[in-house]
């Protein structure tokens, strides 16, 4: 179990650092790179949680498609670097930071409270208890195409709408 723990810690730290990087990098391209790093480390955590399909989906869809789109736009528009320390709206900045810290404390405190008050079994052991099929493409597909068929089909509608919206927006008037 040691390997997984170590990998989890490394990936988690990487995820946090890269998330900070997304927010703090002055140039949007570097933010995008940091987001890529974040996605990959989160995908690694997914893998550790035995969600193999989600690992692949995260990489293919998020990293391979959505983020590439971001990168396209960023490189094409090539916005100027931005110094977040020099913000006209001081109140906004102060409020954001204080609220963010508060939210973090609240969430982490709540989680720790919840997880310590109730005895939680070890993550890996719960997964193995739940059966080795958890997270496989087969189990996931079973759930997706039986119980969640209608929501699944509805997402296709959502994508269609987004597609049309993008075409409309992209058309030069």
């Amino acid at each position: 179990m040691v390997v997984e723990q170590v990998v989890l810690i490394i990936a988690g730290a990487l995820a946090l650092v890269s998330a900070l990087g997304v927010v703090l990098m002055p140039n949007a391209v570097y933010s995008a790179m940091m987001l890529l790093l974040n996605l990959i480390s989160l995908a690694t955590i997914f893998l550790l949680l035995h969600a193999q399909f989600m690992f692949a989906a995260q990489l293919v869809v998020y990293a391979g498609a959505i983020l590439v789109l971001f990168l396209f736009v960023v490189t094409l528009l090539n916005p100027q670097g931005e110094n977040i320390l020099r913000d006209k709206h001081r109140l906004q900045q102060a409020g954001a930071i204080s609220l963010g810290l508060f939210l973090a404390c609240l969430l982490v405190g709540g989680l720790l409270y919840a997880f310590t008050s109730a005895t939680q079994p070890d993550l890996a052991s719960t997964v193995t208890q739940a059966g080795s099929t958890y997270g496989t493409v087969e189990a996931f597909g079973q759930a997706l195409f039986t119980k969640f068929l209608l929501p699944f089909e509805l997402t296709s509608l959502l994508l269609l709408v987004a597609l049309i919206g993008a075409v409309v927006l992209g058309k030069r008037r």
Binding site: S31, L42, F46, A57, L111, L123, A124, A162, A166
Partner: protein, 100 residues
């Protein structure tokens, strides 16, 4: 600290960082990326709880989130590009009136 606690704390922190990013950055593209961070934090929470309960429903939710994120990115980026075409600068603070 068990695995699920670690992942959930990571999820909470990434979410907070994303939220702060939306509030602090003036570049809409980075704001968007911060929103993606928040969505990803949500995904991690879904998968953690899914793994805890051993049901695939968490993963199904993640798939929905992926779809929504894709749709949102397409439309949002389209809007940003349209904004850029019109103003030649992208700064959300400048988009503060309804008129074109």
């Amino acid at each position: 600290m068990s695995g699920i606690t670690i992942t959930m704390v990571i999820s909470a922190l990434v979410f907070t960082i994303g939220a702060c990013g939306v509030l602090l950055r003036r570049n809409p593209l980075v704001q968007f990326m911060s929103i993606e961070l928040m969505l990803n934090a949500g995904n991690l929470a879904f998968i953690s709880f899914g793994g805890m309960t051993g049901s695939a429903e968490g993963q199904v939710f993640v798939l929905m989130v992926l779809t929504v994120a894709a749709a949102e990115a397409v439309v949002g980026l389209g809007i940003i590009v349209a904004m850029f075409r019109r103003r030649r600068r992208i700064d959300v603070d400048e988009v503060n009136s309804m008129e074109g």
